[in-house]
């Protein structure tokens, strides 16, 4: 009889230090003192999920790319591209162009969103895909969006005085009330054997598990963790995502051909 594989339970909440221990972190893109949170930039995050064991079930599942374009003192544009690999080589893609108010929350004012699915043959499944457009007219100063917070948090003061209260339009579609985002601390973080202090903001609220935003001293958002999923800033995120999609396509083909036999 085959012996059951021993698995060790992770035991404590994910932090950058723990992500590093679990092998989830690669090198962050080199930090630059020129990084301007309120300028033009592109951040690409690898999306990684954890099954709760150290040895197995933890995987990269896709990417989130956010491009910031400075418009004026009053507004900015975010271009969002998210890809998540599904079982049997289906890929979910969400793309959005969001015009944001240049306030503390980067409130989404108006947007276009496209949701589409790509099958194993790289064809768009039109029967599942759709486009949406929306705008906010009320509660502008109290509304945020999860993707916009990736931008906004980089402009917030890293001080205990920072505490925001807002409602969230998750994925520009699901309304989640009574969120709060506050600065927690500068935490000693060990990554790749080096001590790198990171700033942490925490978001708590309805409909979400606590979400931690980890930034370096240049206000660059490196890691976002909420329970068992992590968004990790990674220059290789695109390449890794292409690789996991390709791998899944091959194993799906294999499964299909063995079913045919």
């Amino acid at each position: 009889m085959a012996k059951k594989k021993q698995r060790t339970i992770v035991g404590s909440p994910l932090t950058p230090t723990l992500l590093d221990e679990l092998g989830a972190l690669s090198n962050f893109p080199p930090s630059s003192e020129d990084f301007k949170p309120d300028g033009n930039w592109v951040n690409t995050y690898r999306i990684w999920t954890c099954h709760g064991y150290r040895q197995s079930g933890n995987q990269n599942v896709g990417l989130l790319r956010i491009k910031r374009l400075f418009n004026s003192q009053r507004s900015l544009t975010l271009k969002v591209h998210q890809e998540i690999l599904q079982t049997d080589a289906l890929v979910s893609i969400v793309e959005a162009t969001i015009e944001c108010r240049n306030n503390q929350l980067a409130t989404p004012i108006a947007w276009n969103l496209e949701n589409r699915f790509i099958d194993a043959d790289n064809k768009t499944l039109r029967q599942l895909s759709y486009k949406d457009a929306g705008q906010i007219t009320d509660g502008i100063d109290r509304t945020a969006c999860d993707w916009c917070l990736f931008e906004a948090v980089q402009r917030l003061k890293t001080s205990k005085e920072t505490a925001l209260a807002f409602d969230m339009l998750e994925g520009l579609s699901l309304f989640k009330k009574d969120q709060r985002l506050s600065y927690r601390s500068l935490d000693p973080t060990k990554i790749g054997g080096e001590n790198i202090p990171l700033h942490c903001f925490v978001q708590l609220g309805s409909g979400i598990l606590p979400c931690e935003y980890w930034l370096d001293d240049h206000h660059r958002l490196l890691v976002v963790v909420s329970m068992n999923k992590a968004y990790i800033l990674d220059e290789q995120a695109e390449k890794i995502t292409r690789q996991i999609i390709e791998k899944e396509r091959k194993s799906y083909e294999k499964r299909k051909s063995s079913q045919r036999k």
């Binding site: 709760g52 079982t87 049997d88 979910s92 699915f117 598990l209």
Partner: protein, 477 residues
Amino acid sequence: MNKNTTTEQSSCLVNRRDFIKLSGSAVALLANGTLKRNVFAARQSRRPKPKNILLIITDQQHINTIAAGGCRHVRTPALDRLKTSGLSFTQSYSANPLCSPARSAIFTGRTSSEATVYVNGRPIRSDIPNLGQWFSQQTDYETFYAGKWHLPRTYTSNIPGFNVINTGIGGFGYLCDTVMSRACQGFLRNRSKSKPFLLAASFMQPHDICEWLRLNMDKPERLRYGELTRELPELPDNFVYDKNEPKNIKQRRLGNEPFKGKWNKEQWRYYRWSYYRNIEHLDAEIGRILQTLEDYGYAKDTLIVFTSDHGEGLAHHQMVRKNTLYDEAAKVSLILSWPGHIPENRTDTTHLASGLDIMPTLCDYAGIKTPKNMRGRSLRSILEGSSVSVNNFIVTEVSSNTGRMVRTPSFKYIVYKDDSVEQLFDMRTDPGETKNLAESSRYALELSEHRKMLRDWESRLDVQPNVPNANVWRQKT
């Protein structure tokens, strides 16, 4: 075939006192205006059929997690809307409180032991049709499936009888439920309305609590988010439990994270708080589908069935997760709505229901016969106001076919293979299941009646010999 099944069920031994009481309560419900008698009679003769059917299944949802149902710890606008638009059963049970076995019962109307799905990750026995296969053969509904399947693969694009419209990722709720509900949204928006559909939308949440438990097993020095201290939900009344339990339950408890991690009460409460946030996430995703039904003109013509595969320990009896027969794991929401045909905002606290009843109920609404040997019964008559009970008792299996529960309107009986400790709870006076009456001579008659009900039930099942303990339950006295 149906007739035979009906005869078999009605010949079962029933606790006479329970039956009389049940009938009385059901009549009272009718008299209170659940549905007018003449409406019921008219409906019966016409037997209308819903144009579309939406079956929503959640994963590991404790029955008391809907704000409109009285849960003070969550905001659930979508589930509230569902609950107030239909009839919900509060005495509804999973046929086996573990993912794959529970799902096999929902999708076949046969017990998990019969379907050979006695543990997770097994396929349904090939000669038993699933809901999709049966509807594809017998109806003009097009059958679609989105989300978690787990019979055997958790996610797959290959489900017999169904067009699979989304597959999900690995085993994680937050990301895959969002993608799944968006896929359902796209499906409903783009679909031509000419052909009726049966869509199963199977969510993974709030199952993410399993990952949460592994990521929060070790008791922290202090609460990670101190600001939550004041809003942590209290512990349930039956947090303290009766120590006279079968060893299966004791072992399960000791193997769980709270005991390994030596949790204090604050950590237990934080676990409950976190579970409720997963419920709210689930609610938002369900809301996306319900809103699309509304926006795209399906709502009036769609029968919605909402249930979960099983419940969640949620600190009752100091348990987490599932796979036990206490109510926290075994009871599940069961809500049905169909505007103009099922009474709105009604709660049925009287009738027993099981996951086994979903397949025959859907067949009844679709106007077709059921596959042979259904173990569940159609609930349609109750939904249309009948006072007659369809299930005088229900049986739930558990734990690799080593445990059984018999639930009658008044009592719950639990027994495990090779364990001399049986449990009997008076559910009228002790709904928290804290006082085991099995050893009390005052309840010897009830104990014996429930044992016999189980034996009679088992004697009718068609369990294949390769299923572990296939013969144990027929012999058990």
